[in-house]
Symmetry: C2
Subunit: 223 residues, 2 copies
């Protein structure tokens, strides 16, 4: 299969996990082939959008035969780097950190959680699955010995700022960031994926307000 | 202040929560005025981007005087609908649901949680703050009596599908969706904000892989 080397736009990359999920479900239902039209109907995208997206990576379909579900699923997984082993630490084992630990299928994505850290003395020493929560004072030593590549930050903004300086110096340059600290602005050499729950909720608030305004103006128009 | 009525693009809307957070922090530090240049440096955006964004809503700055932080913060809050009261229910009070309940500043955003629901008999009856977890069988009755407008879905995809049909019929048409069920595709009349943690993590995996490949090709080039 031809694989293009030119960089793929981030908007295409962001759609790939959704393709991956859909194809995984089709596999679970023993579907072996699917046309771009069928896939588009299930995903709420246009067929041409799907063809365009998948062409960015050299194309996977055969005209008239549709896509081989298993091959496409595997290839998208490869593109996403899901089979690449990534040593990862999680910092901040409060409610959010615990929810993420129990909720995410990390192994499927090549992510191995090798350390849990918190600065609360009441949490240090607690075991979660096979790991014992360590004090954040131990971060530098731990990184020197174990070389984690990714850090998951479930801490407040003011804590994150100091932590990232330390982690970055200790060689961690990839972050799954639940804090509101703008890592990429201050550390241009890192890769960061932000989950800003508060921003998402505020965006929903906007959409609700807009929907109400639309409904109200529709009612006025009918009067 | 002039407020434009033309619809604002979703990409601008998505930047507003970040402005709102930054301005809130400036307020906490008693900063009263800020130039677009200063704001841009702190936020990692260009000054012209900021002027463009805020002009979508009729503009807030005075040439040469910068922005009034408090007025801008309040106006963005109004635009986001943060002061509008929204009755909200949360469904799925597992790890993720609990983390969200304890983590989010709902009241600040005009969101009042009026009901918690789960289908697990072991959770039904448990109190969290002022609310008692109810069985999802009670959803229809509850909606008829209390008219919630927003639902937060912390349930798996296969549960979400059935729940949304019931909630939609019961008059709930706004969703903060942590499941992988594509609500908007199947219910075009709703407003939805998705938080797909798995997709975010897969996007990070892609970025890590790409960073490694870049580093590897840089090393080759130096040889």
């Amino acid at each position: 299969m031809f694989m293009s080397n030119k960089p793929v736009s981030i908007s295409v990359v962001r759609r790939l996990p959704r393709y991956y999920r859909f194809l995984g479900e089709l596999l679970n239902h023993s579907v072996q082939r699917i046309s771009s039209r069928e896939l588009s109907q299930r995903m709420g995208l246009t067929a041409s959008q799907i063809r365009q997206d998948l062409n960015c990576f050299g194309g996977f379909g055969q005209q008239g035969y549709g896509y081989n579900v298993e091959a496409l699923h595997r290839e998208i997984g490869n593109i996403l780097g899901m089979h690449q082993h990534k040593k990862t630490i999680l910092i901040g084992v409060g409610n959010l950190g615990r929810a993420i630990l129990s909720h995410m299928a990390f192994e499927e994505k090549g992510i191995e959680i090798i350390g849990l850290f918190d600065r609360s003395e009441t949490l240090v020493g607690e075991r979660i699955d096979k790991l014992t929560i360590q004090h954040t004072d131990r971060l530098e030593d731990f990184c020197r010995e174990n070389h984690p590549k990714v850090a998951i930050l479930c801490v407040p903004k003011y804590t994150a700022q100091d932590l990232v300086v330390r982690l970055y110096q200790a060689g961690v340059n990839a972050y799954w960031n639940f804090s509101h600290y703008d890592i990429a602005v201050h550390h241009p050499g890192t890769v960061v994926e932000n989950v800003h729950l508060g921003d998402s909720l505020m965006t929903l608030c906007y959409k609700v307000k807009e929907m109400d305004e639309r409904a109200a103006s529709g009612e006025e128009a009918r009067e």
